[in-house]
């Protein structure tokens, strides 16, 4: 039987950073456009032409500083965010020789900084006498922390996991990004003087009344921690996981996973692709992804799809999972699948409907759900916060305040956030809103 427990050792980073000579050449190609569209397409509005022009004259430190002013995590974003679908997609050099490889250039600078004896740290301004508690240390939380500190606030972060970083440390496979990079950039937030408490379950340990006494505001950046599962019946010993679980155990390296030889992954997003890629790299015999609609509907980055594709992922479009079949040992032996047809709804969305009598079976020994995440409601219920029709925390658009004005929320617990760079932008925005609201409420203490 193939599904013996495997000890997961993690991966070596496979992202290659271009060399200095190539980077200088690439920087030299940039037109340094007036009012450059690349900056506008960057979720955090990085001054791309500005940093590239500094790079051209070999002012690497100045270039890095300019990036860090809008993006404190360039080493991470340049490995994980789809620059080819953001700033690079609108680069005006596209027509003549292809877009400038902005992500590569940022990565060169981030790696230069990480390797330098004096990594960049901004100056901390004078205190404005406000202190903020943040729950959740994912990209939105960390980025909000940086922005708050740089606006003179005192910040403490509570994180439920053992290490800070949220999706950085739990969800991004290490063949994309090494722990070194994450440790350096997450660590640099702490170097700013942000306090971090890990392994603390906010729902159990945080008392809102005492919070209101010790802090000026509370920010929830708790993400979408619960993985969705389909409501299907299956035997006791069946190997049914979620994509997030798989990715997290690969990152944390401590867990043992029972992985089969015929894995079925349900869902067509980045988590699904990453799980497929990771499992195939680990030597799992066959990984099949099923998705209800077509390729163009998949909420996935092209680069991540290609990676899974190159690793040997099989994919079945217009297919959905209908049941799990177990054998006499109470393990999965096959899955029941159904075909779908696509229909356009009145508001222009394309939805999949099952085709009657299209049921078929397929051999499988492991099923992984990668069909999205949902809000962990514990904290929301405890703080008695209102949620919206999407099942996320409801906030005031202008102030980022929840139904309790002391509590702010941002990131994927509030709205759909597609990329890490967007999450960083959300963190900056909420921080600015908080500073404004806190100052309006009354001067420094």
């Amino acid at each position: 039987m193939g599904n013996m427990p495997k000890v997961i050792k993690g991966f070596k980073e496979e992202t290659v950073t271009i060399s200095y000579p190539e980077a200088i050449d690439e920087a030299g190609r940039c037109y340094l456009c007036h009012d450059a569209p690349c900056s506008k397409a960057s979720p955090v509005q990085t001054d791309v032409a500005g940093f590239i022009s500094r790079m051209r004259s070999r002012n690497f430190r100045g270039a890095l500083r300019l990036i860090k002013e809008t993006n404190f995590f360039p080493g991470i974003t340049s490995r994980v965010s789809p620059y080819d679908e953001q700033c690079e997609a609108v680069c005006l050099h596209k027509r003549y020789g292809g877009p400038i490889r902005i992500g590569e250039l940022e990565r060169v600078l981030a790696d230069f900084d990480r390797g330098s004896r004096r990594p960049y740290l901004p100056e901390i301004p004078e205190s404005i006498g406000k202190s903020v508690a943040i729950v959740g240390s994912g990209p939105t939380g960390l980025s909000a922390a940086v922005e708050l500190v740089l606006n003179g606030c005192k910040v403490i972060i509570y994180e439920a996991a053992r290490v800070a970083g949220g999706v950085f440390t739990k969800g991004v496979p290490s063949y994309l990004i090494s722990d070194d990079v994450i440790d350096h950039e997450v660590g640099s937030v702490l170097s700013l003087g942000v306090d971090l408490v890990t392994g603390i379950n906010a729902g159990e340990s945080i008392n809102l009344t005492s919070m209101k006494q010790s802090f000026d505001a509370l920010l929830l950046t708790i993400g979408m921690e619960k993985s969705r599962r389909l409501d299907l019946e299956y035997c006791k010993k069946a190997d049914v996981f979620t994509g997030a679980e798989i990715l997290e155990s690969l990152k944390l390296k401590a867990k043992r996973l029972r992985l089969g030889e015929k894995v079925l992954i349900v869902g067509g997003g980045n988590v699904s692709m990453d799980a497929a890629t990771a499992l195939l790299k680990l030597g799992v015999g066959e990984v099949t992804v099923i998705y209800r609609r077509d390729r163009e509907h998949m909420p996935v980055f092209e680069s991540r799809f290609q990676m899974a594709h190159r690793s040997g992922m099989k994919i079945m479009y217009r297919t959905m999972l209908d049941g799990i079949i177990c054998d006499s040992q109470n393990a999965i032996s096959a899955v029941k699948l159904k075909k779908t047809v696509l229909k356009e709804t009145e508001d222009g969305r394309v939805v999949a409907e099952t085709v009657a009598d299209s049921e078929f079976t397929k051999d499988a020994d492991t099923v992984i759900y990668a069909i999205g995440q949902q809000l962990d409601r514990d904290l929301v219920d405890q703080f008695d916060l209102e949620t919206n029709e999407m099942g996320r925390i409801k906030v005031d658009q202008a102030t980022s305040q929840t139904s309790d004005p002391f509590i702010y929320a941002a990131g994927s617990c509030v709205e759909r956030v597609d990329t890490i760079t967007t999450a960083l932008a959300k963190g900056q925005l909420v921080a600015r809103n908080m500073v404004r609201c806190m100052l309006e409420k009354g001067g420094g203490r």
Binding site: I24, D25, A27, G28, Y31, L32, C33, H34, L92
Partner: protein, 408 residues
């Protein structure tokens, strides 16, 4: 059309107008032969001098420092200029004689230019005589050197017109029927007088050059200027692609006063376009320096092909017909026409909407370009003064141009 690049210079037929100048520390016969094998029209020997000890080979006499070259980079472009500390390594006349004889024998269709210096009657007479007897096709005498041997930085031969006149006559006398050309710094004042003196001495030509002294840069870490010779530096001779416009200017200036001397030019040429421009500005022989150091002797293939294809395209059957063709267009600022109007134009098909034209026109103060939120630049023909700054700054080749507009 059958084109060849043959050209007559000082009565000698060259297979093409390209030659490698004396590149320090070149002087080895093998290096020279490699140039001829590659297809250059001839060789320019290292300067021969009576003061060089004939018993020691050139290589043993070279007292060179290291490093003595230094490239000047501009952003991602490497070595746009080149600086070097001049070596002091003349050849002995014996060596020059031997090299001339053996090269003429092995490569009868190529020219050997014997280079020489002199500081007194004996030297000017004797060296030119010996080079001529050894079979040099042309003799080039350097007048840009100091006139006094004991003071290498002292006044140059060209700075003393009386001395120059005498020297030119001695060289003429010594060289007999061999054509002579004189190496003259291009930025010299009193060009007309120089031309007259050389003409009256029956010189065939001049070799013009512009190689100013400079400092290629400074190491920002340890503050030592380049080239760093054991933590000391000195002035370098600057050459390379960066000096081409100045050299072209030199040709234009001399072209105004010189009708009779044939013109050779040294330095600044990097590709066939530079050569075509030098020829149009009156040069018949182009001496290469930095470009060969960086690109190697095969560069001549590109030059042959580039100039050849250009002739073909222009339907010109021989290179002679292009010599000096641009000189009539060249005049002094006061003679430039003040009527007529030009405006900038944009080729919408190649424009990539970078907005740089808009940025420079706004910066300049004429505000003649509108740049909409759709990023489409549009020239306001009423406001445009046609200064050409935007055309110079547009990053896309042939995207912007200047058009003459009729004025009533």
């Amino acid at each position: 059309m059958d084109v060849n690049l043959k050209i007559k210079f000082c009565g000698v037929t060259l297979i093409n107008p390209f030659i490698v100048s004396q590149v320090p520390p070149n002087g080895e016969l093998e290096t020279i032969k490699a140039q001829l094998e590659a297809g250059w029209c001839g060789v320019l020997l290292r300067t021969a001098s009576l003061s060089a000890d004939p018993r020691k080979p050139t290589a043993a006499r070279i007292r060179q420092v290291a490093p003595f070259y230094r490239g000047v980079d501009y952003e991602e472009k490497r070595a746009v200029d080149l600086g070097w500390i001049e070596p002091e390594s003349p050849m002995s006349v014996d060596e020059a004689e031997a090299a001339t004889a053996s090269l003429k024998e092995a490569y009868p269709d190529r020219v050997v230019i014997g280079a020489m210096v002199g500081r007194n009657r004996e030297e000017w007479l004797k060296v030119s005589r010996r080079l001529s007897q050894a079979g040099a096709d042309i003799i080039e005498c350097d007048f840009s050197i100091s006139a006094a041997e004991e003071n290498p930085r002292g006044p140059r031969v060209v700075d003393d017109l009386k001395l120059m006149e005498k020297a030119a006559r001695y060289v003429r006398e010594g060289a007999r029927n061999t054509p002579i050309i004189f190496k003259i710094p291009g930025m010299l004042a009193g060009k007309e007088q120089v031309v007259n003196i050389l003409k009256s001495a029956d010189a065939e030509g001049i070799n013009l050059f512009y190689e100013p002294k400079g400092v290629p840069g400074i190491n920002l870490t340890n503050f030592v200027p380049f080239p760093n010779v054991g933590a000391k530096s000195t002035l370098s001779t600057m050459g390379g692609a960066g000096i081409k416009p100045y050299t072209l200017g030199v040709l234009a200036e001399w072209g105004k006063v010189n009708k009779d001397l044939e013109v050779s030019v040294l330095g600044g040429a990097y590709n066939w376009r530079d050569c075509a421009e030098y020829i149009l500005m009156g040069a018949k022989l182009i001496q290469f320096h930095g470009a060969v150091l960086q690109r190697g002797v095969r560069l001549v293939d590109e030059l042959n092909s580039g100039v050849g294809d250009y002739l073909n395209e222009k339907m010109v059957s021989s290179l002679d017909k292009l010599v000096g063709k641009s000189l009539p267009f060249f005049t002094t600022p006061d003679k430039l026409p003040r009527t007529g109007r030009v405006v900038a134009a944009i080729d919408d098909k190649t424009c990539i909407h970078c907005g740089i034209c808009y940025q420079v026109c706004e910066g300049l103060g004429y505000h003649a370009i509108n740049f909409s939120s759709q990023r489409k630049p549009v020239i306001d023909k009423k406001k445009c003064l046609g200064d050409g700054l935007c055309v110079a700054s547009c990053p896309v080749f042939n995207c912007m141009s200047l058009r003459r507009v009729s004025t009533k």
